[in-house]
């Protein structure tokens, strides 16, 4: 049995053509079959069956009743452990449910498991996880590919049909880039649209929850459920959340779409540039006006990001000290010793690298040169967007500079790995929303993604444009 989308499954449920239990069994079977992809950190059949009983009791008008959802293992969940893909939280069982996952539970969704990610969401290939790599389900047998990251497990889960939607978090591209690599839809909404409460923090000023789905409509359904104000997160936006799915409108007549010249960079494959061109042509055909624009500070986005994000991370991850919960090294002889051993053994290489970078850029004598400077540049980057959006409705760019790459390709070269975020990081720094949708393939048949960006809180604009372009490949 195959379900194309959330709305498809909902209609089957409404017509009593399938039961919640059957849905559970279908997905349990599939997940077991795809075990070798290492998509889930936590998967437990019993937990799914337990949920079935709860979900059956819910009224039928719950939007996501019985919809199988995978949850990135960075969201704290009360009924499943939460690891952030780190040894330091290996056996951590939260007593609380994150804001976003609680909303999903309230609407009747069925959590099929907790998905793999880069440790504490630090990475672009889901290869820094303590629990091993996730393999991109689109890989050919002899050539395992990376699913992108950090939300690689969630993107892969949707691509492999192991759920109909998945949560992700995006700090510098961690939803959009894996969506592109796995050929699914991934949206990072405006910073603050979804509460961060209950999501293990990586970089607080950038972290934003979002979703993966099989199509734009499903993404809009999921996002309108998980968005909303939360008093427990001071950076949560108090804005009215429109009904994105009901308002979906593919008409692009008169919309002005900016094409930033700075996103033409060396090292981007011709195929990606080709897909970008195709999308531009399609938009024009649909009545949109194309405008060539400049975002002059784009080239500073990556270095800026790799100062601010590690700086915040170095402080956010200080709480993992072995004192209160999580892993504690056993042979410590003093308090300092305990910290050193616990954190040396508990964190992986990439996390330690970023803690070190972050500690360095915040330290006395370097703070002004790095952190303060980066904050100023961040402001300039945000201003670039503000200016452009004064006469553009949307911006169109590629999502990532390449298609999914082989598993271990960039493992030992952090700089190369960081370059993966080149097209996604500027929007993160500016806090604006972005979506990645699959748009064509490369010669090997791997999906390529394009990205729409818009003003703060203009998710509807993004959904509409993506909805329109999506039809090109239906």
């Amino acid at each position: 049995m195959s379900f194309k989308s959330i709305s498809h499954l909902k209609s089957l449920l409404d017509q009593n053509k399938i039961s919640i239990k059957e849905i559970a069994e279908t997905y349990i079977k599939r997940i077991k079959e795809k075990k070798e992809l290492n998509i889930f950190i936590y998967f437990n059949e019993d937990k799914i069956h337990e949920q079935v009983k709860e979900i059956e009791k819910l009224p039928n008008d719950k939007t996501l009743k019985g919809i199988p959802i995978a949850v990135k293992d960075l969201f704290c969940t009360a009924k499943m452990p939460t690891t952030a893909a780190s040894k330091i939280l290996e056996n951590f069982k939260p007593t609380y449910e994150s804001f976003v996952t609680q909303k999903l539970v309230d609407q009747g969704s069925m959590f099929v498991g907790k998905t793999n990610l880069d440790e504490f969401a630090m990475g672009s290939a889901t290869n820094t996880s303590y629990f091993g790599n996730t393999i991109n389900p689109l890989s050919k047998n002899d050539n395992p590919l990376a699913p992108g990251g950090s939300s690689g497990g969630s993107a892969a889960a949707v691509a492999a049909d192991l759920c109909l939607g998945a949560t992700g978090t995006d700090t510098g591209g961690s939803i959009r880039q894996p969506a592109s690599f796995c050929g699914v839809v991934g949206i990072k909404p405006t910073y603050g649209l979804c509460s961060r409460w209950g999501i293990a923090a990586f970089a607080s000023s950038l972290d934003q929850a979002g979703v993966f789905s099989k199509n734009v409509t499903d993404a809009s359904i999921l996002l309108e459920e998980i968005a909303g104000h939360d008093q427990r997160d001071s950076t949560s936006s108090n804005v009215q959340i429109p009904s994105f799915s009901k308002n979906l409108d593919p008409s692009l007549e008169g919309k002005v779409i900016g094409i930033p010249k700075e996103y033409n960079i060396d090292g981007t494959s011709d195929e990606i540039n080709g897909v970008w061109e195709d999308a531009i042509k399609s938009l024009e055909k649909k009545g949109a006006k194309i405008k060539h624009i400049s975002l002059p500070h784009t080239k500073y986005a990556l270095p800026t990001y790799y100062i601010i994000a590690p700086a915040e991370a170095s402080s956010n991850l200080a709480r993992y000290d072995g004192v209160k919960y999580g892993f504690r090294a056993s042979d410590a002889k003093s308090l300092d010793d305990m910290y050193e051993l616990t954190r040396s053994e508990g964190f992986g290489k990439e996390v330690k690298r970023r803690i070190l970078i972050g500690t360095y850029v915040l330290s006395a004598g370097y703070y002004d040169a790095y952190y303060i400077k980066a904050q100023k540049v961040r402001k300039l980057i945000a201003n670039d967007f503000v200016e452009v959006f004064s006469d553009c409705d949307l911006i169109l760019t590629p999502t990532a500079p390449s298609a999914a790459f082989p598993l271990n390709e960039k493992q030992d070269d952090p700089i190369k790995m960081y370059l993966n975020d080149v097209f996604t990081v500027p929007a993160s720094l500016a806090g604006i929303p972005g979506i990645s949708i699959p748009y064509g393939n490369d010669k090997q048949g791997l999906p390529l993604g394009i990205q729409f960006l818009s003003k703060h809180y203009h998710e509807q604009e993004i959904f509409n444009a993506a909805f329109a372009l999506e039809k090109d490949y239906e």
């Binding site: 952030a84 939260p94 961060r196 923090a201 607080s204 997160d233 402080s315 709480r319 000290d321 006395a364």
Partner: protein, 491 residues
């Protein structure tokens, strides 16, 4: 008043600045809704936020902000419309987040001042640099187990106001007066309970010495003193130590010190080289704190009469001395008690000086003896007022009044009832007193002769004898007059 320390070679001036940590009086913590009650079972007042669980976020407690603003107003300080919470990063077992949320570059309150009053009636301004809000840490308990340290997070996240002074303080006494004054202002405002024993008010002392007129010397910081007595002891010890080091040709190293309360000495906790790099940066979990003028004005209206205003009123309306007024206003409860006495009877206003004496010497000594706070005094302000009135109206003498006061203290009875019951009413009937005087002079003829031959001092003896005979009830003024006139007639 000279504050200089005499060394073996030179005179030295001590320069002191204080950082006072005052716990905000609030039912819940600065960034969570856990209770702040003192003395609860360990780890019984800890929320997910206080324990720094993954994904937990701080949310500003508006009440604590208002308390800080009120305190700023009380310190005559500038309230900043814009302030920022920063993270101060360091590792310690009782610091669950691995950082303390504090305010670094942009504190909520800016420059202010506090006036301290001296015995000689003079006063001095101590300038405040800033007041900022921060979280308290938990507590490490090292004495519960021979091999382990336990951590109690009840205090973790409790709101503190750090009040930083300029180095305007020049002696241990001034430091004592300053911290008493701050404590008094906080307690008037109700923004801190001022309880130093429970640690609601603690201070770090920055101290250096210099030859008068020279530049500031290198300072040391004595951490975490929780009583005025210890603050004074620590300052006296440390300034003397620094003088000795300097006079012997040594240099002062910029150290952080701890004060040992049993030896009365300071010892280094860490040196400048070991100083932490706290890597302050704005907390990205919190937005900058913006307070508009309207809100500040609203809070201004809630500020009660503060010690300085009260002091001024006492000096102007009741003719009290500056010092008396400052002693009286130092403790709000005492001052309220005094106000209630005066309010109880219009005529007492002219006798305020007498009221002060009865309050601060007689009643206080009874309260101190029994260790009772003034708000629990068995004598009501009204009754103390009536007692003073009885003295003024010559119904009883001051001496008798002291006995009446003790009786009031023990029985809670009205003074009139006690006087009635014990027959203590003053004898003002001249003929009754004349009889007593006659008897005394008759019984002491030799003394009378001596008096008449010039020993004037014996008058006191006759007064004493006569008073004794009247059982203390004779009106002293009338008694004196009668004695003098009788004696002069003997000439």
């Amino acid at each position: 008043m000279s504050n200089l320390i005499k060394g073996k070679k030179y005179e030295w001036e001590t320069v002191i600045g204080l950082e006072i940590h005052a716990q905000v009086k609030s039912n819940s913590k600065l960034f969570s809704n856990s209770s702040t009650a003192f003395g609860s079972k360990p780890n019984s007042q800890v929320s997910l936020v206080d324990a720094a669980m993954p994904g937990m976020l701080p949310v500003i407690n508006k009440y604590c902000i208002e308390q800080a603003v009120k305190t700023g107003i009380g310190l005559k300080a500038k309230i900043n419309n814009y302030s920022v919470f920063d993270r101060k990063n360091y590792f310690y077992a009782d610091l669950p987040q691995g950082y303390q949320i504090s305010q670094y570059k942009y504190p909520i309150v800016g420059e202010g001042k506090v006036i301290i009053d001296f015995k000689d009636g003079s006063s001095k301004d101590i300038r405040i640099v800033r007041l900022h809000l921060e979280q308290d840490a938990g507590k490490s308990l090292h004495d519960q187990n021979p091999k382990k340290t336990y951590v109690d997070l009840n205090r973790s996240g409790v709101a503190l106001m750090e009040i930083v002074s300029e180095p305007d303080i020049r002696s241990a006494d001034e430091a004592g007066l300053y911290i008493s004054k701050i404590r008094s202002i906080l307690m008037y405002l109700g923004t801190c309970d001022g309880n130093m024993q429970e640690g609601s008010l603690r201070a770090d002392v920055n101290i250096s010495v210099r030859k008068p007129g020279y530049e500031y010397g290198t300072r040391c910081e004595i951490k975490n003193l929780n009583s005025i007595k210890f603050i004074k002891q620590a300052i006296n010890y440390e300034s003397q130590r620094q003088v000795e080091v300097l006079e012997e040709g040594g240099v002062i190293e910029q150290n952080t010190l701890l004060f040992n309360t049993s030896t009365g000495k300071t010892r280094p906790m860490r040196s400048k080289e070991e100083a932490h790099d706290y890597r302050y940066f704005p907390d990205p979990d919190l937005l900058p704190l913006e307070i508009d003028q309207e809100e500040i004005n609203k809070l201004k209206k809630t500020i009660p009469e503060l010690p300085d205003d009260r002091k001024k009123r006492y000096v102007e309306d009741y003719n009290l001395s500056n010092y008396d007024a400052s002693v009286l206003t130092a403790d709000k409860l005492v001052s309220d008690y005094f106000d209630n006495i005066i309010k109880s009877d219009k005529t007492l206003k002219e006798s305020s000086k007498i009221v002060v004496n009865w309050l601060t010497s007689e009643l206080f000594s009874l309260l101190n003896e029994k260790n009772i706070e003034i708000n629990n005094s068995p004598i009501t302000p009204e009754n103390l007022g009536r007692l003073v009135k009885l003295i003024k109206e010559d119904i009883i003498s001051g001496k008798i009044a002291k006995d009446v006061l003790v009786e009031m203290f023990n029985t809670k009875e009205d003074p009139e009832k006690i006087i009635e019951r014990k027959g203590l009413k003053q004898v003002t009937n001249t003929s009754e007193i004349e009889i007593i005087v006659e008897e005394v002079l008759e019984e002491n003829k030799k003394m009378v002769e001596q008096y008449l031959s010039g020993k004037d001092k014996l008058l006191g003896f006759f007064v004493g004898q006569s008073m004794q005979k009247s059982k203390g009830k004779a009106n002293p003024k009338i008694l004196n007059e009668i004695l003098k006139s009788k004696l002069s007639k003997k000439h």
